[in-house]
């Protein structure tokens, strides 16, 4: 009964969505307030019904209702409750339901909190949002229905793919989808603006909080997925340039560019057309990401062609939204009035520079990811494009971007003073030089890239703080005055500094791990040692243990440094009986922000077992940096100016202390 209710709720959501796709637009055309306001109710009700539908599927999973085909395929009665819950979205059908749930959530949020939007704009936004929703409801109901029953309920399920039975992967998809789907709001606003043929600085102010929220979720979502890959896949890499990763990186790059160009539009009324284009592109790339991952086209062009129903459906959605969006853009954008002139050296100029490099980086990833597919489809020739290609083409684009990053916030709007900004960045240059020199001294000249990488990271980090230090008067003014100024500083300025600082942290982590990670691969017998980077590990022996739905072989190690015992590490190999699959469970020991990483290989006949031991210096910074970036976004989001529905700030009442 419950799955049928869920199915029915989804059909009702589709019906509401179809209504919402047309009626508000008709209302906007005839300036009929009642018809336009209808979208508010339908958006809220849509969310309610999709939530019901999702709850029904979750219930089926939690109660292990194996008469539902989807539950049978992806769950097991012995699985821990948390994974029963999360396996709701650990499969194709369920994850698409999660996708529309988040889409409906965003739609409802616009309806509920968009009270200050002009009526026609709101009507158009919600209508466009519903076009997207309609196509995805149809996709689920016609090709990927999670509620299908089996004629005879099996006794036991086939279990969730073991490598998905992990808390990291439980949280990762919802975050990623919040990001992907969040960009749909920017897209809807862009299409609505094009339909209305009118766009101004206020538009950017309405769009920015949604984009920022989506960007934050995507940032953490990507970091989370990367950390999961790091500890779960057992060879200590954190980014593989896999098409599935690239699919999430592309919207992030476009979204980051969008955030920056929307600032220009909001403050200076410039770059309007470009911002619209980015809003369309960010969501288009999210759709492409969904398509790449969902259609099976990545596995092989041929499997895609042999079972094309889902792939072709998503492809049709892609063509409609991306093609339609860009066509509308080409047709209407020239009608929009450009404003806001600026000199090349200015805050706007810096943000344009940022956009040029971010979009090129995005294009690099796009071409690298899709070229092999396109080439194979067109000529049948097979080539591989992997990490070595991306390292060579992508990384160099970030060097000028990061070099310019500290300058941006220091330049004035309209016309900036580059030598002045450089002078103010003296502290950052100093820190960078010291870092480069110190690294050269410490490691010798065997790698040139690493010292300069460290220098660049410090330049970015210190540079991010320079703006704050100057504006709060730290080191110049008495502490009370500094506090007053700090409180008076707009949150968005804090957000910029914190997010840029986070980027520096991530870079520092990446450089350290790439340059100084060390590795040892050995076969050990019980009571033998292995040492690496000053740590000494003793292999104490193997034990067999039983988990709820797996058996595991655990190796026990004692870690010492300088003779002092620091703790134990227990890497394991798990065998999941229901799918007869096994996973490696690496063991991590965190020392500050560095980690020891130990993973287990095969056992040999002579009683020895192969182990792989890594020392990863500063590796945690790679992800902590992303968390800091997200916090920067949160600070910026809490800025009064951006708060959804916040009234206009009262006339400047914050007193600035005299210089």
């Amino acid at each position: 009964m419950i799955p049928e209710l869920g199915h029915y709720a989804l059909v009702l959501a589709l019906a509401l969505s179809v209504v919402q796709a047309f009626v508000p637009m008709i209302g906007a055309f005839y300036r009929d307030g009642a018809l336009m306001r209808l979208a508010n109710s339908t958006a809220l009700m849509q969310f309610l019904f999709v939530a019901l539908s999702f709850a029904a599927l979750t219930t089926s999973y939690v109660t292990s209702d194996f008469s539902v085909a989807n539950v049978y395929e992806n769950s097991h009665s012995m699985m821990p409750l948390i994974y029963k819950f999360t396996s709701t979205w650990g499969n194709h059908e369920g994850s698409m339901l999660l996708w529309v749930l988040i889409l409906a959530l965003f739609g409802a949020a616009v309806a509920a909190f968009g009270g200050n939007l002009p009526a026609t704009l709101k009507a158009h936004v919600l209508a466009v949002q519903s076009w997207i929703a309609t196509s995805f409801y149809l996709f689920i109901l016609l090709t990927s229905n999670p509620f299908l029953r089996l004629p005879q309920a099996p006794f036991e399920g086939r279990d969730l793919n073991p490598i998905l039975q992990d808390i990291g992967l439980a949280i990762h998809p919802p975050l990623l989808y919040l990001g992907y789907v969040g960009f749909s709001i920017a897209f809807s606003f862009a299409i609505a603006a094009l339909i209305e043929g009118r766009i101004d600085a206020a538009w950017a102010r309405w769009v920015r909080p949604w984009t920022l929220a989506a960007w934050m979720a995507l940032t953490v979502g990507i970091a989370m997925g990367s950390y999961w890959a790091y500890y779960e896949l057992g060879w200590g890499g954190y980014w593989f340039w896999d098409p599935v990763e690239n699919a999430s990186l592309m919207p992030w790059l476009a979204g980051t560019a969008l955030l920056h160009s929307a600032v220009v539009m909001e403050k200076r009324n410039a770059l309007k057309i470009w911002t619209l284009l980015l809003a369309i592109l960010a969501f288009s790339l999210s759709l492409i990401g969904t398509f790449l991952v969902r259609s099976g086209v990545l596995t092989s062009v041929h499997t895609f062609a042999s079972d094309p129903s889902r792939g072709v459906f998503i492809l049709a959605i892609l063509v409609f939204f991306i093609g339609g969006g860009l066509t509308l853009f080409a047709w209407r954008a020239p009608l929009l009035k450009q404003g806001g002139l600026f000199a090349p050296i200015s805050r706007e100029g810096a943000l344009v520079f940022n956009n040029l490099f971010l979009t090129t980086a995005c294009l690099t990833v796009f071409v690298g990811t899709l070229y092999p597919l396109a080439l194979e489809a067109l000529t049948g020739e097979k080539i591989s494009v992997g990490a070595p290609f991306f390292n060579l083409t992508f990384a160099p684009l970030f060097v000028p971007l990061l070099c310019a990053m500290p300058f941006g916030p220091l330049l004035a709007w309209k016309r900036g003073d580059l030598p002045g900004a450089a002078q103010r960045l003296m502290a950052a240059f100093g820190a960078a030089l010291v870092a480069v020199a110190a690294t050269f001294m410490a490691q010798g000249a065997h790698s040139v890239l690493a010292p300069f990488g460290i220098g660049l990271a410090l330049f970015v980090m210190v540079g991010a703080l320079v703006d704050l230090v100057e504006r709060t008067g730290l080191f110049r003014l008495p502490l009370t005055a500094v506090r007053g100024r700090a409180a008076g500083l707009p949150r968005s300025a804090w957000g910029t500094a914190v997010a840029h600082f986070g980027m520096g942290l991530t870079l520092l982590g990446i450089v350290c791990v790439s340059a100084w990670a060390s590795e040892k691969i050995v076969a050990l017998k019980p009571s033998q040692h292995v040492s690496l980077a000053g740590y000494d590990l003793t292999f104490d022996g193997l034990v067999q243990r039983n988990g709820p739905n797996f058996r595991e072989l655990v190796a026990h190690f004692t870690v010492r440094r300088g003779g002092v015992a620091l703790g134990e590490m227990e890497p394991a190999k798990r065998t999941f009986t229901s799918r007869s699959m096994s996973t490696t469970e690496a063991s991590l020991m965190t020392r500050g922000v560095s980690q020891l990483y130990l993973s287990l290989g095969d056992s040999n006949d002579d009683g020895s077992v192969a182990v792989r031991l890594y020392y990863k210096p500063l590796v945690l910074l790679v992800w902590l940096g992303a968390v800091v970036m997200m916090l920067g976004g949160a600070l910026s989001l809490s800025d009064r100016r951006l708060r959804v529905g916040a009234p206009k700030p009262a006339a400047k009442s914050v007193l600035q202390p005299a210089e």
């Binding site: 997925g225 896999d242 098409p243 494009v385 990490a387």
Partner: protein
């Protein structure tokens, strides 16, 4: 096969093995040769995996390739000779970084070309703008009057 998309995992259902990629018994005694072997391994694709280098993969084929690379290195091949040998045997598919040829021209050239075009376009735009007006357009006579009243409240109103 790997990460973010769980998703692809489910689609493919390729079970990951648990063995380590590089096995202890594969490692060459000469550390220089071994380092070269590892570097080469990262450039070579495990052809039965999804986008995995033979250095990362635990598939039997990847092991065969790793051993082959080491054999060639021990036989005195240069890095590019090893790559040539593998391309001759397995086709270009084995390289994770495709060579620059006619059919990969767009792959290598599109992004740099876009960057160049974008940069030049922006420069041209900035120059054109400067020549048109960095100074604001002159005030109309109406605006002049309003300005006058604002500056000098004694002047005739509105």
């Amino acid at each position: 096969m790997r990460r973010l998309g769980i998703l692809a995992l489910l689609v493919t259902l390729l079970a990951p093995g648990v063995a380590l990629a590089v096995q202890p018994d594969e490692i060459l005694t000469d550390p220089k040769l071994e380092a070269r072997a590892r570097d080469l391994s990262r450039e070579l694709r495990c052809m039965v995996c999804q986008n995995q280098s033979i250095d990362d993969s635990d598939a039997p084929l990847a092991r065969d390739l790793r051993l082959l690379v080491r054999q060639r290195l021990e036989a005195g091949d240069s890095d590019s000779q090893v790559l040539d040998f593998l391309v001759a045997r397995y086709g270009e598919f084995v390289l994770l970084k495709p060579r620059l040829e006619w059919h990969t021209l767009l792959l290598w050239g599109l992004a740099p070309a876009a960057l160049l075009a974008g940069g030049i376009g922006l420069l041209l735009m900035a120059r054109r703008r400067r020549s048109i007006s960095l100074q604001a357009p002159a005030l109309t006579s109406d605006e002049q009057k309003r300005l006058a009243t604002l500056v000098d409240p004694g002047a005739p109103e509105r």
